[in-house]
Symmetry: C2
Subunit: 199 residues, 2 copies
Amino acid sequence: MRNEPRAFMLEGPDYVPSVYDHHLTRRLSAMAGQYADQAAYEQMLAGEDVTLYEVYELQRPQVAGELLHGISIVHPGKVGDEFFMTKGHFHTVLETGEIYTCLKGRGAMVMETPEGDWAVEELYPGRVLYVLPRWAHRSVNTGHEEDLVTFFVYPGNAGHDYGTIETQGFRKLVVERQEQMQIIDNPRWRERVASTGSA
Amino acid sequence: MRNEPRAFMLEGPDYVPSVYDHHLTRRLSAMAGQYADQAAYEQMLAGEDVTLYEVYELQRPQVAGELLHGISIVHPGKVGDEFFMTKGHFHTVLETGEIYTCLKGRGAMVMETPEGDWAVEELYPGRVLYVLPRWAHRSVNTGHEEDLVTFFVYPGNAGHDYGTIETQGFRKLVVERQEQMQIIDNPRWRERVASTGSA
């Protein structure tokens, strides 16, 4: 890891950083249980294990004071009527925020707190979103043809807690119905929490 | 201060955030002793106390885990042969970094560490620069007509130490000679450190 200031380019059409350390590819098979329409998920997976999203990261020490950063690319598509999306996560150190700048495409950031607050903010080029400390977050590509590309920055000590969302999901889903984006309640959300409590 | 995720637009031509909490204007009179050509500085100031740069900030608590962010706009111009620039600073919590994304114009980030390392990185639209923890930094507009506009993100607990740079300056200056940008040694840099030591 170079110990000097590092500059790189973010340029269209794809916005892959001109310099990066890691390239992560997340496929449909990594999202078991995350999409509401399980039948559609199984059917799609039987066809092809498509790539849902990719992340390009620049490496830095995972300590407070550093800023980890990179690019997230969510491809267009749907599982049933639910748009392609990232797994989504809380930060392990809950009191850490994250800033997203949308570079390309059209999407939404689905967010919620452990206390039950939720929010969905639109993403489109030029739009900057500050995801506050305590808010879990998931990017959703609500477009039909273009990738959703965002540049993210978060504190080096934040960490990723994927497990909580894998277990309980987000309270809200982003779907397309009657050719419109809609935010709906996640029908499976309460069920999962209840089953966790009674196990 | 809203306790919900907050989104705003950064759009041309000026890139002033569509939402902000503070607008800081830094004029020539605030830069006494910072430009190498003191005679040119005094002469210019006698004419007009021009605005060198402006900062638009979005407010958040100044604590670790939060990410402070906003826009810096350095106007074009020179004091003698030295380009308009920001005061520049170390972070008070030295082990904190900062990310700059250039949105408009052409410039340079002048950087140095307490240990004597220095670096100058070019800024132009699409270029992202990670200023590592420990590196003091100053934005310089090396263009002739356009503003230099950058979007910055830094940890909430970083703080600003302007005093060290006010006292000793940066090791390097960015000037224009023979119609070219040049990086030169700051002739007054050592002198100041010596005078501090012998006072």
